[in-house]
């Protein structure tokens, strides 16, 4: 880390101060926009200079550079110049993985969620197994979407704890069909959160080969797990109907109709009945 240039320090210093309540109420739109445009002209050095000014929460005042970096992320999107945007994102990504505080890296990742693209997926992929960064990284890579599946899939075998949970869930978010086999394994995990995330992911992917896995999972007496696996069954069935796998969908609906016989689950039976009737009417 080096000392930010005097010009950058002066520009950042001109950004608005929080009012006595800590809010940015005293703010001039044009002045802020001009400052951000000027900072952007400083290129990579200015971006890294801003990052150098960031500190961990509770370790000092970085209100202005924090605001400036976010404004810059929004600004580069507004320019509608993909090369400039990628250059900004690559510079941010280059600051991950080093010895900067994890809270600062987390903030960088959140700015990548604003302005990053496929070019930063590998850098985010490396953060997927970091206990302190994996949540932010998973959210950012899923939001960017392009290039996410490969990174999530590659990180899964190395991940543990909440990193693994976030990866499993986001494989479902990005609907990675290549992850079906590992998700089927995760559906039998001893950790309830992992199980439920994997079952939902399989449903959201709409994999016709996962019907038996989901039906088996839904055959549980744990009240909350039964509710969520039932939801996954209905979700998968809807996706199968939409993809014209009507017989597989019918198996799910029939299972729910026959297994949810307690009066307290009559609404599930009704849902399965009406969905099955609608599916049969579909051409």
């Amino acid at each position: 880390m080096s000392e930010p240039s005097q010009i950058l320090v002066e520009l950042v210093g001109k950004l608005p101060n929080p009012d006595e309540q800590g809010m940015l109420s005293n703010i001039d739109k044009q002045a802020v926009e001009d400052i951000i445009a000027e900072i952007h002209k400083g290129g990579r050095d200015s971006i890294i200079g801003l990052i150098d000014m960031l500190v961990e929460p509770g370790k000092g005042d970085d209100v202005k550079p924090r605001y400036a970096l976010h404004c810059l992320a929004v600004y580069v999107c507004k320019l509608q110049d993909k090369n400039l945007q990628r250059a900004f994102a690559r510079t941010l990504a280059s600051q991950l993985g080093g010895d900067r505080p994890k809270a600062v890296q987390g903030y960088i990742i959140r700015q990548l969620q604003v302005a990053g693209g496929k070019e930063v997926a590998p850098a985010l992929g490396k953060a997927l197994c970091d206990e302190e960064l994996c949540e932010y990284a998973a959210q950012a890579i899923a939001a960017i979407s392009d290039g996410a599946a490969e990174q999530l899939r590659a990180a899964l075998p190395k991940a543990t704890g909440k990193c693994r949970l976030n990866i499993v869930q986001n494989l479902g978010v990005v609907r990675d069909t290549k992850a079906v086999s590992v998700l089927k394994q995760a559906a039998g995990d001893t950790d309830r959160n992992i199980r439920l995330a994997a079952i939902w992911a399989l449903a959201n992917i709409g994999d016709a080969g996962s019907v038996d896995v989901l039906i088996k999972a839904a055959d549980t007496q744990d009240a909350y797990e039964r509710i969520k696996t039932t939801q996954a069954c209905l979700l998968l069935a809807e996706k199968l109907v939409a993809a014209n796998y009507k017989s597989e969908a019918a198996r799910i609906y029939t299972y729910l109709r026959n297994s949810r016989t307690d009066p307290s689950e009559s609404y599930v039976r009704d849902a399965a009945d009406s969905a099955l009737a609608a599916a049969n009417k579909r051409q």
């Binding site: 509770g58 949970l165 909350y224």
Partner: protein
């Protein structure tokens, strides 16, 4: 130099209508009046405070017990017995019998029929969905959601499980009682208006400064009674600060969307019903605001939202920058139609009366503030806030519910959640 304007009281500018919103209290009073009007059978059959038939006894739960909590439970208008109270700040008193910190434990209970949700909005969608998945009916505080995709997911759950969902704002019920609003509703619903030149301006009352976030707060120790991980839930994890909880949560994008999101559903729900926009959303949105902070909601001047039919909706904060001056307010009237169309509209029957939550629960009919309508209204707030946050004009596809031609802005439509939470 800062662009500042003194805060003013809210006011709507409209050629045709200039009426106040129906308050919750007004709604409840009317609901009670309506219920009384149906009392043509003995009280023990219809039910009452001390004489309720088993078929009309409801087991209720309240999730989110601070702030509006008790009021939201009461707004259900049902003879519901409060069996479970759940709040993430009950760590030191939860017994998992009547007091809970984890809503999932509440939803497992078979004796609970109806759930009132008054948590901060970042939990509204997930708890509403989980409740309907568990077979419960839901009254959920406004704003319905924190981002657009959540609303669609709630509407899908409502449809999939055939449950009752009502958002906790009732302005449309008041509009349905007004002949001038009913007339506009019929004109718009008829599809006979060739080009809609209406401009609906809503000034002030958005509590922009009141519900802004702090940008310089430093982490503080989490109180012993608060489950901070559960409070944060699906949103990005941030260090604890008391301003992020207890009502001032409204000032943070992680939990709500400032005064615009907090008050907007109240203000725009009547507009949306009157102008028959329950099934669509604007296509072009532009905001006048300074660059937004990444975490704290802040200042904005106005937002212009245009519908595909030509209608313009304008929100003017009256609290920052120059006021909106592009267009004058303009209503819709029969004069906008040709003779033949006028006759057709005049011959149209009035829309069906809107059904209250209580009536919907009992009759299994859809309530007035159902999930789709509430979602479309919340979408207005979210689109406005997205335009404020990205600082550029956005275009929206109301069918696909996606921002078009702006991949980065579209990331705010469906924001990935912190596991294990997901839509």
């Amino acid at each position: 130099m800062a662009d500042q304007r003194p805060a003013t009281k809210n006011r709507k500018e409209h050629i045709v209508r200039k009426s106040k919103l129906a308050s919750r209290r007004e709604f409840l009073r009317k609901s009670i009046g309506a219920a009384a009007a149906f009392t043509i059978v003995p009280r023990h059959v219809l039910g009452g405070p001390n004489d309720t038939p088993p078929s009309e006894t409801f087991g209720g739960a309240l999730i989110g017990c601070g702030g509006r909590g008790q009021g939201t439970f009461g707004a259900m208008g049902l003879d519901a017995k409060l069996l479970a109270s759940c709040d993430v700040k009950f760590l030191n008193r939860a017994d998992n019998k009547t007091i809970y910190t984890d809503f999932r434990r509440v939803l497992e209970r078979k004796d609970i029929d109806v759930v009132a949700i008054a948590t901060p909005p970042h939990w509204h969608a997930l708890i509403s969905i989980a409740a309907m998945e568990a077979g419960k009916d839901v009254l959920c505080e406004k704003p319905m959601t924190r981002f657009i995709a959540e609303g669609r997911a709630v509407a899908e759950a409502e449809r999939r499980y055939n449950r009752i969902f009502q958002v906790g704002t009732f302005g449309r019920f008041g509009e349905r009682q007004k002949p001038e609003s009913v007339l506009i509703h019929k004109i718009m619903k008829s599809g006979l208006l060739k080009k809609c030149e209406a401009v609906y301006l809503y000034h002030g009352g958005f509590k922009v400064k009141e519900w802004s976030g702090k940008v310089n707060s430093q982490p503080e120790p989490v109180p012993a009674n608060l489950d901070w991980d559960m409070y944060v839930g699906p949103s990005p994890m941030k260090p604890y600060h008391p301003h992020r909880t207890g009502g001032t949560h409204r000032g943070y994008w992680d939990y709500e969307g400032g005064g615009l999101a907090d008050m907007g559903q109240h203000y725009l729900d009547p507009f949306q019903w009157t102008y028959a926009k329950d099934d669509t959303s604007p296509v072009e949105i532009e905001a006048y605001a300074p660059p937004a902070h990444p975490e704290a909601c802040g200042m904005w001047g106005w937002v212009e939202l245009k519908y595909a039919d030509g209608m313009t909706l304008v929100l003017d904060s009256d609290e920052w920058g120059q006021g909106y001056g592009r267009k004058e307010a303009r209503g819709v009237s029969l004069n906008d139609l040709d003779e033949e169309s006028r006759k057709k509209v005049e011959a149209m029957p009035d829309p069906e009366p809107l059904i209250s939550f209580a009536e919907a629960v009992k009759t299994r009919k859809r309530p007035g503030g159902h999930a789709e309508a509430a979602h479309r209204c919340a979408t207005l707030l979210h689109l406005a806030n997205i335009a404020i946050r990205v600082g550029r004009k956005i275009r929206y596809d109301p069918v696909k519910e996606q921002i078009t031609g702006d991949e980065e802005a579209n990331r705010l439509v469906n924001q990935p959640m912190r596991a294990p939470w997901h839509l």
